[in-house]
Amino acid sequence: MSTDAVAAIPGDTLRERVVDDLRAAIGDALLDSFVRPGDDVWVRVRTDAWRSAGLALRTLGFDYFCFLSAIDWMPSPFGKGEDDPTAPAPERDDTIAQGYAGGDTRLQVLARLVHPALHVGVNVKCDVPDTDPVVESWISVFAGANWHERETHEMFGIGFAGHPDLRNMYLPSDFEGHPLRKDFPLLARIVKPWPGIVDVEPLPGGSDDEEGDAE
C-alpha cells in the first residue's frame, strides 16, 4: 500500500470492526488495540484471556493460524555486537518500550490469525509475567500452534500451560538459556567485534553530506 493511499484512507472500518467484535466477545480482557488503516490490526489481551481470545477470534472467522512467537522488548545489553571487548562496556539505554498496542512486561507473546474470506489479519499480543512466564496453550484452539509454542518455549523460555510436549525443537535438550532473549549473548560477536555493522564505505572523494541528504 503506497503512502498516499494510506493517507487517503481516513479510517479503516473493516479493521476497526474486528477490534469492536473482539471487544464484544471478550469484554475488558482486550486491553489495547492499534489499527494502521488499510494495513493491519494489533490487539493486546490480558494474559489470562490468551486462550479465550484465540477462541473468540476463531469464532469470528479468523481460522487461519499464521504463526505464534514472542518479542523480548528489553534493549540488548550487548548492542549490536560492535563493541570492543577489551574496552569497558558502553552505557546503554535500558528502558523497555513496547510497540503497538502497548504492554507492561518485558516479554510479549505474539500471534497472527487471518480471516480467509476477508483477507484481514490480526496480530494478537499478550503480556507474559516476568516472574512466572507462562501463558495458556493454544493447541486446543489451533492444532498448528504445537510447533510454534515449542519453538517459542525454546527460544524465549515462555511456558505454555496445557501443551503436552514442550521439547526443544532445534537445540539439544540439555542446552541452557533461551537464545532469542536479548540478554543471551551472540557469542561470535562478543569474542570478536564484527567490522561490518556499518556497511556503507565512504566514497572516494565524497564527503559527509552524501550520507546526510535524506535524513
Binding site: 494495513d39 481460522d63 523480548d72 498448528g144 543471551f184 551472540l186 555493522i197 535524513e215
Partner: protein
C-alpha cells in the same frame, strides 16, 4: 477429478486407518512395533530432516519429525545486522527460490519507511520472483519422480531449471543467492537481451510442464501412488496454517499474490489461482504443476508491459528504518513467507520473526502420517514439499 462421495470415502478410509493404528498400539498382545529412524541422512529427506516412525509391519502408528539439524539462528542474527545486510541471510532460507525470500523482508522495511519502489523495479521484482518460483517448483516436479522411483523426470527438471537459473544469473549475478533486492528498488536494471531470452525460456518451461504431465502425472502407477494418499481436509489445513499449494490443494482458494495489495505487479496481469478439491498428494503435485504454467504466463505478460524508468527510489545512503512494527508476507514457492519486523529506529531490526512456509507445512506431518505405509511417508513428504532451510531457518 473425483466426485465428492469418493473424496469422503477416502477421508474416512484414512481416518479409519489412523484409528486402527491407534488401537493396535494399545493391544498388548500384538507384536512389538519397530521404530524406524528416517534420516537425518536419508535420500528422501533432501536435507537433514529426521523422522522417527513407529511401525507395525509397514504401517506407521506414530511419526514425529525432528528438525534442527540446520538451524542457523537467522532471527538472532538479523538483530545484529543492518537492514541491507539481512537480505544476504534470508536468501538462504529457501535456497531454491532465494529471490522470493528477499522480497517480503524488503517490502516490510519499505512499509515502515513509507517508501515505494518505482514501477519498473516492482515489475522486475515480480518477474524475478516468478522466475524463482519456476526454478523452485520445476525442481520439485522432477524430485517427485525420484521419490516415487522414476529417475528420469529429475534430470529433465535439472535441465530446464538450468535455463531459468541462467536468466536469474544474467540479471542478478547470482544463480542461487541473488541478493539483488534493495530497500527502495533493485541493485541494477535488467541486462540487454533479457526480455527476449526469457520469452524463449518460458516456452521451454511450458514444454517441460507438458512433458511432466505426460510422463509422470498421466502415469497409472503415479496416480495410484498419490491419489487418496495423505488427505488433508480443509479445516485441518487451516488450523495448521498450511499455505501455498498445500492449502490450495485442499480446496481453499487462497493466494496472497491475488488477495493482497502489495506494491508488486501481480494484480496488473491476468492469471488464475488453481485449486483442487481432493487434498491428497496428487492434488498438491497437480496444483504445483499448474502453478508453474501460470507463472510462465505471468512472466510473459509482465515482459510485454514492463514500464520504463528508474529502478531505485531515492533512499538515504545509510538506511534507518523508523520505529514501528510491520508484517508483510508473500506467496513464495513453498507457501506463505512472512516477516514480522520490529524496528526501533535503528540501523538494524530490533526483532524479526521469520514465518516460513515449510515450518507450518511440516508441522502437520505427525497428523497426516498416522496409519500410512512406509512408501507413503515418502510420497506425503515429497508432496508437502519442504526445504530444510525453510523449516529450521
Amino acid at each position: 477429478m473425483t466426485s465428492t462421495e469418493s473424496l469422503i470415502d477416502r477421508r474416512q478410509l484414512s481416518y479409519i486407518a489412523a484409528q486402527a493404528a491407534d488401537a493396535r498400539l494399545n493391544v498388548e498382545l500384538e507384536t512389538e512395533g519397530m521404530t524406524l529412524n528416517i534420516g537425518p541422512q536419508h535420500p528422501a529427506t533432501h536435507g537433514t530432516l529426521r523422522i522417527i516412525a513407529r511401525l507395525d509391519g509397514e504401517q506407521v502408528v506414530w511419526a514425529e519429525p525432528s528438525c534442527g539439524y540446520m538451524h542457523r539462528g537467522y532471527e538472532k542474527l538479523t538483530e545484529v545486522r543492518t537492514y541491507p545486510q539481512v537480505t544476504a541471510l534470508v536468501n538462504r532460507i529457501d535456497w531454491l527460490g532465494s529471490f522470493a525470500n528477499e522480497v517480503p523482508f524488503i517490502l516490510a522495511a519499505e512499509k515502515l519507511m513509507e517508501i515505494e519502489a518505482p514501477p519498473r523495479a516492482q515489475w522486475i521484482r515480480t518477474i524475478l520472483f516468478e522466475l524463482s518460483r519456476i526454478a523452485n517448483v520445476s525442481l520439485f516436479l522432477g524430485d517427485l519422480g525420484v521419490q516415487l522411483g522414476a529417475i528420469t523426470p529429475v534430470f529433465m527438471a535439472f535441465r530446464d531449471r538450468e535455463y531459468v537459473l541462467n536468466l536469474i544469473e544474467g540479471a542478478t549475478g547470482g544463480r542461487f543467492h541473488p541478493n539483488f533486492d534493495r530497500i527502495g528498488g533493485l541493485k541494477d536494471d535488467l541486462p540487454a537481451g533479457f526480455v527476449d531470452e526469457t520469452r524463449v525460456v518460458m516456452k521451454k518451461l511450458r514444454n517441460f510442464c507438458d512433458e511432466m504431465e505426460r510422463l509422470l502425472f498421466g502415469n497409472e502407477i503415479f496416480q495410484s501412488r498419490t491419489r487418496g494418499i495423505g488427505v488433508i481436509p480443509k479445516d485441518v489445513a487451516m488450523q495448521y496454517g498450511l499455505s501455498g499449494a498445500n492449502l490450495r490443494a485442499s480446496g481453499v482458494d487462497w493466494d496472497l499474490r491475488r488477495d493482497q495489495t502489495l506494491p508488486m505487479a501481480w494484480n496488473k496481469v491476468d492469471w488464475k489461482v488453481w485449486t483442487h478439491p481432493d487434498g491428497d498428494s496428487f492434488a498438491r503435485c497437480w496444483v504445483r504443476l499448474q502453478e508453474v504454467r501460470e507463472s510462465t504466463r505471468i512472466v510473459d505478460q509482465l515482459l510485454d508491459a514492463i514500464p520504463t524508468g528508474p529502478v531505485m527510489a531515492k533512499v538515504p545512503r545509510i538506511i534507518k528504518v523508523p520505529e514501528g512494527e510491520a508484517w508483510v508476507s508473500t506467496e513464495n514457492p513453498l507457501g506463505e513467507m512472512g516477516y514480522y519486523l520490529v524496528s526501533k529506529g535503528d540501523l538494524g531490526p530490533f526483532r524479526t520473526k521469520i514465518r516460513s512456509a515449510s515450518f507450518n507445512n511440516i508441522s502437520i506431518v505427525p497428523w497426516v502420517l498416522k496409519g500410512v505405509y512406509v512408501p507413503d511417508i515418502i510420497t506425503i513428504l515429497a508432496s508437502l514439499y519442504f526445504i530444510l532451510g525453510d523449516i529450521d531457518r
